[in-house]
């Protein structure tokens, strides 16, 4: 099992995000402080509207906080302009979305190397091969997304997130659009990326079965961190979720 590192890959400090004004004010995040450790697979869970997606968007530099701060490594995102944020996303962060992960006009391989191509960086071929083999995509590389199954598409997305060896990978309901068998397969690939390839993944999910693959689960409700579990089982997660639901 991976050891908990002392230096966080990403962190939120007193993070608050408020939508709207006055009466229609919604506190999507309410003074959240949380660390995500290097080499760990963390799941963020919570019911709908708990702020879990907002937290991830803010951590990934896709959205900005109303107050507080978020850091990727030791970089405070609030200090960056759009250009620097773009570079940060390209170099330090990987993304896996629920759906529509791939550019339909590019082949699987072109999708995988896209962030590096955009940055004008040559991919590390050895690592690329490792990732491609790990995701079992070797004979799918020249296919367009429309020629791939849902699971294959999601594996390409995982490979893309891994390819640039980012500091941290954010996954937003990566199995939400897949059947349970294919979903389990993707989660295994992700767990494999953390344990064997020493990557760091933060995953937002509402599925206790998915969360059980993680090393650690952070529970959010009403924009606050309310609980967390280490080395969870799906039963434990389900139990916590039920309590939160009440």
């Amino acid at each position: 099992m991976t050891q908990v590192a002392t230096h966080p890959a990403a962190a939120a400090l007193n993070a608050s995000k408020i939508y709207g004004k006055d009466d229609s004010e919604v506190r999507a995040l309410d003074d959240v402080t949380v660390d995500f450790h290097l080499g760990q697979f963390t799941a963020i869970m919570g019911p709908s509207g708990s702020g879990k997606s907002t937290l991830m968007h803010c951590l990934a530099g896709l959205d900005s906080l109303t107050s507080g701060s978020v850091c990727i490594g030791d970089t405070d995102l609030a200090q960056l302009d759009d250009k620097q944020l773009t570079t940060l996303r390209r170099e330090k962060i990987g993304f896996i979305f629920q759906a529509y992960n791939l550019i339909p006009t590019l082949t699987a391989l072109e999708n995988i190397t896209l962030p590096m191509d955009l940055g004008g960086v040559k991919p590390d071929q050895e690592w690329l091969d490792t990732v491609i083999d790990a995701m079992n995509l070797r004979n799918r590389l020249s296919h367009r997304p429309s020629e791939l199954s849902g699971g294959q598409q999601q594996r390409v997305a995982v490979a893309r997130a891994l390819a640039s060896r980012p500091q941290i990978i954010f996954a937003d309901e990566p199995t939400g659009n897949l059947d349970s068998k294919t979903g389990a397969e993707i989660l295994m690939f992700m767990k494999h990326a953390v344990t064997d390839l020493h990557q760091t993944i933060v995953m937002v999910t509402h599925d206790p079965l998915a969360a059980a693959y993680a090393d650690r689960v952070v529970f959010l409700a009403d924009g606050r961190v309310v609980d967390e579990l280490s080395q969870p089982t799906s039963a434990q997660v389900l139990d916590r979720m039920k309590r939160l639901g009440n």
């Binding site: 529509y100 550019i103 896209l114």
Partner: protein, 854 residues
């Protein structure tokens, strides 16, 4: 490694090729129009240059009278006395001197009817194939003696004559029969650009054409071994001051140059319409890109999320525009060759006789087409590209955050400001007319463009309520549109993307606004014209030459001798400098006062008989002259005279601004006279029928003449105006065609976008027919919206233009209600046509697949 931006750009275009096809088509047609205009004018000009270079033959020098101003050629100047011919032939180095003489003459066909040609019909003096000019003998022999003629091969064939036949030819002073002995051509041309040419030996020509021992000019050939410029100098020395000698090359250049000036104007008009088409295409390109960007929202957001910079996104969209621009420009340039050929064929069919010797595609044409085609496409892609780059990366997960809320107020302000500046510029151009035609036109054109852009911008704000209103009041079969599900869907769909509805409608707006403008101006001109003709034309008969070649002066003399007619007067024109400005001066008999009513407000028409002048009130006011004041004239041949004002009139519709008598004209100009038309009044006590018979009998001897009574004359004048308008409408149709493409394209893109929605509608039980109807009605709403905007913008534009036109042209403003209603009704058809393909596509969707679409 290919740059990812280039790769994404190229793949983006390929993936959307069908969606982009119509856009490309719009640019192609615009560019084709531009390059076609250039190719056409270049080709015609080079053909004309060739023709005149061939015609020049071995003419080294040309001797002609001088003119004080203007650029008239031989035949339009005072003639040269033939006595000079023998003197020049004695000069050292001169090989040959010939008289150049050319007069209108008509060949009578074997069936007794005059040979109709689209170009000029004339006779020339010809020394035969060994002579100096470029006329060649294709068959037979050159004409010799008083009974022989040679005719150009094309005309001989069309008139049905062969060598040896007797041919009747009507010259300026009478008709005669000649034996056809030869067929002529010009260099490699066997016809003469739509002209008919009969050639006589110089002496016969002098007699038959009534030249009275004078020539239009003298042609000189120089002996080998002598320098033409030395010979030119020696001739110059012996010539009187009123005669000059120029090189044959310069003479040829002057003639082709003056024709080419006309071709250039024609080309500029075509380019003007090309600009309109391109402007409309720009809306279409803009719209397509805007829609494609919004359809690719998630893809673009995803690119941003994985690290594409805003600049890379911008480059990608603009790059797509660039690719379309390059492809479309290439096709457009090729299309231009087709357009040039098409227009030539069209105008030749209408009788214009463009000489053609292959199509000329110059580097300039290619460069301008590339600049314009790519420029317009890329420019139209800029705003969508900026919009695309502003898509936040988070939209990859939450598409609803894709586009920032519409900044309604900002757009209102910008739209209004553009509109106001546009109106101001347009008004300045029209009414203030600051220095020169170029500035006036430029200011009005830029003003109009800004006005259109302003309205297009503002139309976004009213698109939704307007669509609602149109769907409520539009009469669809059986019941209001909003009562049916299809109608409600159509209406809501038009309202839900007001930006798209507005910019699609705007393309049509531009086209139809211009049509309404032209319609108002045309109706006003027509009404003013008819009113003017009705009040001023009191003549019983007008005799004209329908091919605008003028009438032989003998005709008026014959008519004058008829007992059945009272007053008869020909109408001639000449030019003079008044106060340093060139003016066209009309010359008539004092009897013209009985034939047309020019509305004399001071003095009297009869004063012309005393050698006085009459003028319209406008130039009288400008010059500050009244009855009894004198005006200085410098005539074309350099003579000057001071004439007294004998009358001022208010209606310049028929006779123009300046009037002198024929007697005065004969004193100041020796140019071989041609009558533009002849007006005649029936003598007292003679019936119309008898008079007409008498006139027709005389006119029969002059085959180029056409006799018209008052109403026929008015009708023929109006027909000419209508023909011109038909051409203008035809060219504007092109812009409207592009706008229709635009609506079709937008609808097709919308259908594509709503695949899932349509799948749902079909799943819950909507029939294909209803779905089609819904798409069709949406297209109708958009096009009616565009047409209404067009009319609303076009009517005031037309009224302003009509008001700005000079009073001699437009006196009343008329709004053509029928045309306007026609435009609005046509827009419904436009909508139906534009929706054919998109509706069919919507109906064809596979329900299950459609629902499964993301």
């Amino acid at each position: 490694m290919v740059s990812p931006v280039i790769r994404l750009t190229a793949r983006g275009v390929v993936a959307r090729k069908f969606r982009i096809l119509l856009t490309t088509l719009a640019v192609v047609s615009g560019v084709a129009f531009v390059s076609g205009a250039f190719v056409l004018t270049d080709s015609v000009k080079s053909a004309i240059d060739n023709l005149f270079e061939e015609l020049r033959g071995e003419i080294d020098l040309q001797v002609r009278t001088t003119i004080a101003f203007g650029d008239q050629g031989p035949g339009e100047r005072d003639p040269v006395p033939l006595s000079l011919l023998s003197e020049i032939s004695k000069i050292e180095g001169v090989r040959l001197v010939e008289a150049n003489l050319r007069r209108p003459a008509t060949i009578i066909k074997t069936d007794g009817k005059p040979l109709k040609v689209s170009g000029p019909a004339f006779a020339v003096a010809w020394s035969g194939p060994d002579g100096l000019d470029g006329r060649t003998l294709i068959a037979g022999t050159a004409p010799h003696g008083p009974n022989e003629v040679a005719i150009d091969k094309g005309s001989a064939k069309r008139a049905g004559y062969e060598i040896g036949d007797m041919v009747t030819i009507v010259g300026p002073v009478g008709k005669d029969q000649f034996t056809l002995v030869g067929l002529t051509g010009i260099g490699k041309f066997s016809g003469g650009a739509g002209a008919s040419v009969s050639a006589f030996d110089p002496e016969t020509a002098n007699d038959f054409l009534g030249a009275q021992d004078q020539a239009d000019s003298l042609l000189v050939g120089v002996l080998p071994g002598f320098s033409p410029s030395d010979v030119q100098a020696s001739i110059e020395e012996m010539l009187p001051a009123s005669v000059e000698v120029i090189t044959g090359v310069q003479a040829a250049k002057e003639i082709s140059g003056s024709i080419n000036d006309v071709i250039d104007i024609f080309g500029k008009v075509l380019l003007g319409f090309a600009a309109i088409s391109l402007f409309v295409s720009a809306f279409l390109i803009f719209n397509t890109f805007a829609i494609i960007v919004s359809q690719r929202l998630r893809e673009l957001a995803l690119l941003r999320a994985v690290g594409a910079s805003t600049q890379q996104i911008r480059l990608m969209i603009i790059g797509e525009g660039l690719i379309i621009g390059i492809i479309a420009t290439g096709l457009g340039i090729l299309g231009g060759l087709g357009v040039a050929q098409g227009i030539t064929a069209l105008f030749n069919a209408a009788g214009a006789a463009f000489p053609t010797a292959g199509l000329t595609l110059s580097l300039r044409t290619i460069l301008v087409s590339v600049f314009i085609g790519i420029g317009v496409t890329v420019t139209a892609a800029i705003v969508p590209a900026i919009r695309a780059s502003r898509i936040p990366p988070v939209a990859a997960m939450r598409p609803e955050l894709g586009f920032s809320a519409l900044q309604r107020n900002k757009r209102l302000v910008v739209g209004l400001a553009t509109l106001l500046v546009g109106i101001t510029l347009f008004s300045i151009g029209l009414f203030v007319q600051p220095g020169g035609v170029a500035i006036t036109l430029g200011s009005s054109a830029i003003g109009a463009v800004m006005l259109f852009l302003g309205v297009a911008s503002l139309s976004t704000t009213i698109a939704a309520p307007a669509s609602r209103l149109i769907s409520r009041i539009l009469p669809v079969p059986f019941r209001p549109m909003t009562r049916s599900v299809s109608g409600r869907l159509a209406s809501r769909n038009a309202q839900r993307t007001p930006r798209r509805t507005a910019s699609t409608a705007s393309a049509l707006m531009v086209g139809l606004a211009l049509v309404s403008t032209v319609a108002v101006v045309a109706a006003s001109v027509k009404k003013s014209f008819t009113e003017q003709l009705q009040s001023s034309v009191t003549a019983d008969f007008f005799i004209t030459n329908p091919s605008f070649q003028g009438l032989p002066v003998a005709l008026a003399e014959h008519l004058d001798a008829l007992e059945e007619l009272g007053s008869v007067s020909p109408f001639r024109v000449t030019q003079a400098l008044v106060n340093g400005e060139e003016k066209q001066i009309s010359a008539v008999k004092p009897e013209m006062g009985d034939i047309v009513n020019v509305d004399v407000i001071k003095g009297e028409f009869g004063s012309l008989a005393e050698g006085k002048i009459m003028l319209h009130e406008d130039p009288a006011r400008d010059l500050g002259v009244g009855i009894g004041d004198s005006v200085n004239f410098t005539w074309q041949n350099g003579t000057t005279s001071t004439l007294t004002v004998g009358g001022i009139y208010a209606d310049a519709g028929v006779v123009g601004n300046w009037l002198i008598s024929l007697d005065t004209l004969s004193q100041v100009s020796k140019v071989p006279p041609i009558d533009f038309f002849i007006g005649a009044k029936i003598a007292e006590g003679v019936s119309v029928k008898d008079a007409r018979a008498a006139v027709e009998k005389v006119a029969k001897e002059f085959p180029s003449a056409e006799v018209q009574d008052q109403s026929e004359f008015q009708k023929s004048q109006e027909d000419q105006l209508n023909q011109l308008l038909a051409i203008v409408y035809g060219l504007l149709l092109f812009a409207i065609f592009i706008a229709v493409l635009g609506i079709a394209n937008t609808m097709a893109l919308s259908v594509y976008e709503r695949t899932r929605e349509f799948g749902l509608l079909r799943a819950v039980g909507m029939s294909k027919r209803h779905l089609k109807r819904s798409v069709r009605w949406e297209a109708i709403i958009v096009s009616v919206f565009g047409a209404t905007l067009g009319v609303v913008v076009g009517l005031p534009l037309g009224v302003s233009v009509a008001m700005a036109l000079p009073d001699s042209f437009v006196t009343t403003t008329q709004i053509p209600v029928n045309t306007i209603v026609g435009i609005l009704l046509t827009s419904i058809i436009v909508g139906i046509v534009a929706a054919i393909f998109p509706a069919r596509r919507a109906a064809k969707l596979d329900v299950l697949a459609a629902i499964a679409t993301q």
